[in-house]
Amino acid sequence: MRPFEFQRAASESEAIAAAAAGARYLAGGTTLVDLMREEVETPEKIVDINRLPLNYIRATDEAIVIGALARMSEVAANQDVRRLQPLIPETLTEGASPQLRNVASIGGNLLQRVRCPYFRMLDAACNKRVPGSGCSAIDGLNAGHAILGSSEHCVATHPSDLAVSLVALGATLSLKGPRGERTIPVEELFRLPESTPHLEHTLEPGELIVEVHVPNGPYARKARYLKVRDRSSYEFALVSAAAALHVENGIIKEVRIAAGGVGTRPWRMNAVEQALVGKPAARASYEIAAAVSTEETRPLSHNGFKVKLLPATIVRALEMAGDVA
């Protein structure tokens, strides 16, 4: 680890000022500290935001509001969240391990770095770590990599489970920065790699995620997250799907679907959703619609199986959501 300056912020304005001057925010530290130990991340300044009053969960009739410093385990255990937005606790408990969930924050979860092995190897080429150095994964081992949204510069998948469900649920983020406050959809937080894979999000310098708003849509209760992987815990998704259904008289009125493990960012499945609206909430409809999910996929040498697994996962997630009483 490289030596660095450490500062503990007492207020949001202090934190934002420090970050605008080049400091990195430290919340749970489960990504940043890990990468600093391996010198993949080498910040010169760290600003610890853990004392900011952003650890809260509020429930209203319209939305669940989660402070950016709420811990994954706290949100997963919250009774209001479990009642109004059951997809979120289910998603959170599928991620990481209990120890990590106890310290990892909601804001940090959305900004976690990719799991591409080459990103974590200092001596391997990686455009995300060293822009212009090349991508080792494209011609290397890429079974875990993206089939959607990749570019010739980067094929790493976005690792967050929570982001997938938040994208499906149409959640928004409240941001505060040197130039004031704004609100963006979670989906717009993430950039495609294109020719600048080192730029992963749309936050402006110094901008801080303050809270997450999750609207209590009519589909929020009939929602499930399915994470498919080779072991039952502590593994990133091969493919995951969040599915939320609003069904009336057996007919799908509204549906939200997003997939993880397949895209360079959480992938909202708009075409699949469109193919489902007005159809019976039944496996036959799900299968026809899910087939659309693979239309724009671009598999690499080792991840072709994801093209088969993606629609199967969507079908099963929809079935699970449909089974919710």
Partner: protein
């Protein structure tokens, strides 16, 4: 006599371990100690062109940068321990510019703190001229092992009886398949760690080792100093599975660094470094052909196996050995080849050889059962041999049929409907599978010392290890049994190279070898005590009795057949003679026994899997093993050992693989998040059962060994269960979701 053997005692050291008081190698911090970090090669084949250490030497806290440019020239005298490969020469570190595999140590950075050493190690600029390494076993040349090429070879690469190929042509029913098993790394919890401290030309190592006696000899040979100048200590091991049998380069590097900076040095490998040069289960390629009569009787078995090795050593394991005696069959042919790659040398990993070889054989037998439309256990029963047909000698004991009975009954095998895909639980596909397991009853000469202290307690010493099976506890039970005193009065110590020498703590031979030596030492102590009692006697009235007239009962010495005139150990000490009274024991197996008998443990293992029909997730829901392993010294520990082994087998079946980037030989998943081993959620209900088996031939204790066989067979049972659930035969391990889509 008390009956300490056979009791389910809890671990004597359990409390120490769960309260953090057990001290592991990396925790023996020394006064003035510096920290060393290895810099590994970032090319997979080539040469070091330059090392620019000037800038790094000026970094904060850096004490030294050691490379081939300034490292001590080491003697590397000849030494080949029983766990070293039979041919080739071990890796010499920091002695030259040649790079043989990715991650090979090219330098060590020594600094005041670990952080400083890590930071400086990352900053060290090494330039290489690189060539393309060949790390693909499928493309590699297959060679006959050198030890089999030599005249009068002790190992045979090709073994045959009858004519397997001709018999296969005439067989009514045939199965042929090729099996690929991925490279695995041991990945114990405790990383490799060594603290080295020189005092003049004497070296003390606190080092994670399953074989302290060999570590002492190997380091002495490498440094060209007498073995008695090297002391190796390792009281506890946090799991090893074979990776700490050999003395790997990091031990040499720690000692070399300590001498270079003239102060104690601590060196702990990172998880990533544990994938470079501390051994691995070799990638294997196997082909099996079985031929049977319509009634299921085997008439032909051909088994060709090949495993990866390095270019500089020939690691060999018993990949095809079991095939010659597992079943009755007149025509059997096996062959074993090595595939040298630009990689580091593999080593023994739990169930070495057998785990991979039996996987292939037992999957093929399951396939044959389907072709014959027979129950897989019935097919095995029909082919149960009366003797070891490969060597034409009887088994010392073989309880295979009893294992089928017990295992099938406890598992509920009769509920199985044979048609693939025919069993369901809700929407999930259920499969039952089983396989045979076997592992040889290895034995090597061992020594032990027993010391009777004036307070009546007994100290027992042997240079053995306890990597998890519970050696501390089970050896105390052996001593208690043969001395006839409570286990609480025994204090067993291990893990020091100055204790009586023992064989490696591997190959399931610790209880057989060290246990037998402790028994012999206890008997020696009793004989000496009897002499003493007969000489002294005093008020107990044993004076003048010949030793032959005395016997031990309930921890006391009596005149045979009488209960009134006894003396305790404490009384004996007061009679004079040497104090403490010392018994020494050696265990050796009579060479004739090994020639006259075939000695192996056997078992039948069972697995139930549940597979999601849509997304193909594989869950092992139940696992069960029924074993015939001779006498079980401590059923609780033995059961634990089996549970651990079966979990390892589940990992081998559906998760574990070390993946190499073919461009440079880099292991790309050298991380616990990326190299999958089962977590608690993947660990099913597991049962281990032991059939009653008395084997008076293997060794005086009648124990056949347990640690290795516990992993063997499980991967085949799981594979066969996956086929039963899905109808798919996947011939590669691990079997993952992508294989079932």
């Amino acid at each position: 006599m008390t009956t300490a053997i056979g009791k389910s005692l809890s671990r004597i050291d359990g409390r120490l371990k769960v309260t953090g008081q057990a001290t592991y190698a990396a925790e023996f911090n020394q006064e003035g100690q510096a920290h060393a970090v290895i810099v590994g090669s970032t090319v997979g084949l080539g040469r070091i062109e330059a090392i620019d250490s000037a800038a790094v030497e000026k970094m904060p806290g850096v004490v030294a940068v050691i490379s081939h440019l300034n490292a001590q020239r080491l003697a590397y005298n000849e030494h080949r321990g029983p766990i070293d490969p039979p041919a080739g020469e071990r890796l010499h570190v920091l002695q030259g510019t040649e790079i043989r595999f990715f991650g090979e140590p090219v330098a060590i950075v020594v600094a005041e703190t670990l952080d400083q050493a890590e930071h400086a190690a990352n900053a060290l600029k090494v330039t290489y001229s690189a060539r393309q390494p060949q790390v693909d076993a499928h493309a590699g040349e297959r060679v006959i092992p050198a030890v089999a090429r030599r005249p009068g070879a002790r190992a045979e690469a090709d073994v045959a009886r009858g004519d397997a190929d001709k018999a296969l042509e005439t067989a009514a029913v045939k199965v042929e398949a090729e099996y690929v098993i991925a490279r695995e790394n041991h990945n114990p919890m405790e990383p490799h760690a060594t603290i080295a401290a020189w005092n003049g030309d004497r070296l003390t190592l606190w080092s994670k080792s399953q074989f302290v006696a060999n570590e002492q000899a190997e380091i002495a040979a490498i440094f060209g100093i007498p073995p008695e100048n090297v002391q190796v200590n390792c009281p506890f091991i946090g799991g090893a599975f074979g990776t700490s049998l050999r003395t790997w380069p990091h031990v040499t590097l720690a000692a070399l660094a300590a001498r270079h900076v003239n102060r104690p040095v601590k060196l702990v490998l990172t998880r990533k470094q544990m994938f470079f040069a501390t051994g691995h289960r070799p990638y294997t390629l196997q082909r099996i052909a079985l031929g049977a009569q319509p009634d299921g009787k085997l008439i032909s078995i051909a088994h060709e196996g090949a495993g990866e090795t390095s270019r500089y050593e020939e690691f060999m394991e018993a990949l095809t050995s079991v095939t010659s005696f597992m079943y009755s069959c007149p025509n059997v042919r096996t062959s074993y080849r090595l595939i040298p790659l630009d990689a580091s040398t593999p080593t023994y990993m739990r169930g070495p050889g057998e785990a991979s070889g039996i996987h292939a054989l037992e999957c093929a037998v399951d396939e044959l059962a389907y072709k014959l439309q027979m129950d897989p256990i019935d097919l095995r029963r029909i082919n149960e041999p009366q003797i070891d047909e490969g060597r034409q000698v009887p088994f010392s004991s073989r309880s295979m049929l009893k294992c089928y009975d017990l295992g099938a009954e406890r598992f509920g095998w009769s509920r199985r409907t044979p048609e693939p895909g025919s069993m369901r639980d809700g929407r999930l596909l259920i499969g039952y599978g089983m396989a045979n397991a076997s592992y040889p009853c290895l034995f090597a000469p061992a020594n032990a010392r027993v010391r009777l202290l004036p307070d009546g307690t007994v100290e027992v010493e042997a240079a053995a290890s306890d990597m998890g099976p519970g050696t501390y506890t089970s050896m105390s039970q052996v001593a208690a049994e043969y001395l006839g005193i409570p286990v609480e009065r025994i204090r067993f110590s291990l893990g020091r190279s100055d204790f009586p020498a023992t064989p490696p703590h591997g190959g399931s031979m610790t209880m057989a070898s060290v246990g037998s030596a402790i028994r012999a030492a206890c008997l020696d102590l009793q004989a000496k005590a009897a002499v003493l009692a007969a000489k002294g006697g005093g008020n107990a009235g044993l004076a003048g009795q010949s030793p032959e007239a005395l016997e031990w009962r309930d921890g006391m010495l009596f005149v045979k057949g009488r209960s009134d005139r006894g003396v305790t150990y404490a009384d004996l000490v007061s009679y004079g003679g040497e104090s403490p009274l010392v018994g020494e024991g050696t265990a050796a197996r009579d060479a004739e026994t090994g020639q006259k008998y075939s000695m192996h443990s056997f078992g039948a293992v069972f697995a139930e899997v549940a597979i999601d029909p849509d997304v193909k997730t594989i869950k092992v829901r139940r696992a069960l093993g029924a074993y015939g392993v001779g006498r079980v010294v401590n059923p609780k520990l033995a059961t634990s050992q089996c549970i651990g082994g079966m979990i390892g087998g589940i990992g081998m079946a559906i998760m574990e693989r070390t993946v190499l980037d073919r461009r440079n030989g880099r292991p790309i998943n050298a991380h616990m998040a990326d190299y999958l081993v089962p977590v608690n959620l993947d660990t099913p209900h597991i049962e281990a059962h032991f059939v009653d088996e008395e084997d008076t031939i293997v060794n005086p204790l009648g124990v056949k060994g347990l640690g290795e066989i516990a992993l063997v067979g499980m991967s085949a049972a799981v594979s066969n269960a996956i086929h039963h659930a899905t109808g798919r035969r996947v011939h590669e391990l691990p079997i993952m979701i992508e294989n079932l889509l």
